[in-house]
């Protein structure tokens, strides 16, 4: 059975691109439009991998990522970040939040800056879940 991959991005173009990329390479994508919907689907559909954006309306990716990593049922699901935010800025924001909340949230499995390249993203998916 095809492995389920949750794709969370508010931009329709990116969602279509990533879901097509996954579908045509033997995965089963589950699209979501924002952090809130993403978190709900992550909990109900138990995906093998989460690919997510950071800057989204309603629940942002930063919040969703930390919720995922603190959820005992989800914390072992690998996460690939795909964002226009530079890698440096994201890791800095996580460090600040770690200090603020007093617990260490692990780093995402991969971090890809937008616009994502098909090969780069596919390599990251394969090395995360095969």
């Amino acid at each position: 059975m095809a492995k389920k991959v949750l794709v969370v991005d508010d931009e329709q173009d990116i969602r279509i691109f990533i879901t097509t990329l996954l579908e045509t390479n033997g995965y089963k994508p589950i699209p979501a439009e924002d952090g809130r919907e993403g978190l709900e689907l992550a909990r109900s559909r138990k995906p093998a991998l989460i690919i997510m954006d950071i800057m989204m309306p309603r629940e942002s990716g930063i919040y969703m990522y930390r919720e995922v990593k603190k959820d005992p049922g989800l914390k072992d699901v690998p996460v690939i970040m795909v964002s226009a935010l530079s890698k440096k800025t994201f890791f800095h924001s996580q460090k600040v939040l770690d200090e603020y909340e007093g617990d260490k949230v692990p780093e995402p499995t991969a971090y890809i800056e937008k616009p994502p390249e098909a090969d780069e993203l596919l390599d990251a998916v394969r090395s995360a879940i095969g």
Partner: protein, 385 residues
């Protein structure tokens, strides 16, 4: 040749004695027997120092002093006073005489007065030099600062632009990938999706380029005397099909009897189209409670202005933060769909007309934009603004 000194006294004896003594001290001496004569010589010769008796028939020393100070404030004037003229002497100081000497004149007292006058002249010259130097310095530094600020603004602009373009490239590349997969796998759904992505992103980059051009273009507004309703009617017909498509009603109200005013029809057309497009966007993704979504365009006469345009919608409205930022470059609530330049351009054009743009908005209730343009009927009046 020494400094020019004008010596004014109605007594010939004093003119002679004092004249010799000043010439001995190295001055280029001119003499006058009355205030009137002195003023004539002063206007022709521009001496740097004037030595004048206070009490003279006709124009006295005080009047002469005031006229000289009025015409050339840098001239140093020394008053010659008799015994008991102390009050006059003090009065002359109030009118900015440099000093006074009393009759009978001692050479030594005169020399001291002249020396002090020289110091004053020298100091004034130095002061002017420093002030001018300082002004020059301020000018240079200011120019450097403006340059630095401009560079910073350009940097900011370029970064924002690069971000917007990167986003569009993402969409284009994504579209290419989806379309290619569709062709490879003969999947018409992928083909359709990919092609739509390509089209919408080409549209986005076109809009970005057009907005940028509109904003950067410093074109001279082409003011013409025209019916202010005209640009609004054009925009009404232009936006109507898009409104119908989105199920948004569009109405127009034009006050009767509006006088033609000077405006740049293309510029105002651009402003009204921007506002109407924004109004449509505000209605599109929002369902007002009870009332169907709608936009009203108005063209009214208000006291003190040539025309007031209103673009009112009952769409989503704005919150406090949005309201405070709408006229800034690159601020957009439309995500990757907006360029964040529309309202900047609108504001720029309205200001060029000497007009104002204002807005009332309530979150969840809609927004109304007002553009008021001044009542200008002649071309020269518009140029001075």
């Amino acid at each position: 040749m020494g400094d020019k000194v004008l010596l004014v006294d109605d007594e010939e004896g004093i003119r002679k004695v004092l004249g010799i003594s000043l010439a001995d001290a190295g001055y280029d001496v001119m003499t006058a027997g009355s205030g009137e004569e002195a003023l004539n010589i002063f206007r022709n010769e521009s001496p740097s120092i004037v030595l004048t008796d206070i009490k003279m028939p006709g124009m006295d020393g005080i009047v002469l002093l005031r006229k000289i100070k009025e015409e050339k404030p840098d001239t140093e004037v020394i008053m010659i006073t008799g015994h008991g003229d102390l009050e006059l002497a003090i009065k002359s100081l109030q009118f900015e005489a440099a000093d006074f000497v009393t009759k009978p004149i001692h050479d030594e007292a005169l020399a001291i007065a002249l020396k002090r006058v020289h110091e004053r002249i020298w100091m004034k010259a130095k002061l002017r030099e420093y002030t001018e130097g300082l002004e020059q310095l301020v000018l240079e530094k200011t120019q450097k600062l403006i340059e630095a600020e401009r560079l910073a603004a350009i940097g900011q602009t370029v970064a924002t632009l690069a971000h917007a373009i990167k986003n569009i490239i993402g969409g284009l590349k994504g579209g290419m990938y989806v379309l290619e997969k569709g062709m490879e796998l003969h999947n018409t759904q992928y083909q359709g999706q990919g092609w739509e992505m390509l089209k919408s992103n080409v549209e986005k980059i076109k809009n970005l380029a057009l907005d940028l051009l509109n904003y950067a273009k410093d074109r001279e507004p082409d003011y013409r005397l025209c019916d202010p309703c005209e640009p609004l009617q054009e925009v009404f017909h232009l936006v109507q099909p898009r409104c119908r498509e989105s199920g948004v009603s569009l109405e127009m109200e034009c006050s009767a009897g509006l006088q033609p005013i000077l405006l740049d029809p293309d510029g105002i057309h651009c402003c009204l189209l921007n506002l109407a497009s924004n109004a449509l966007d505000a209605c599109r993704d929002f369902e007002p409670a009870g009332t169907p979504p709608g936009i009203v365009l108005r063209c009214l006469h208000v006291h003190g202005w040539g025309v007031e345009y209103q673009v009112a919608d009952n769409g989503c409205g704005m919150d406090e933060e949005t309201r405070s930022r709408i006229f800034r470059t690159f601020f957009s609530t439309k995500g990757t769909k907006g360029t964040g330049l529309g309202l900047m351009i609108t504001q720029k054009i309205v200001r060029e007309h000497g007009g104002v743009i204002e807005m009332e908005t309530k979150q969840g209730k809609g927004s109304t934009f007002f553009i008021r343009l001044p009542d200008r009927r002649r071309l020269d009046a518009s140029r001075t603004a």
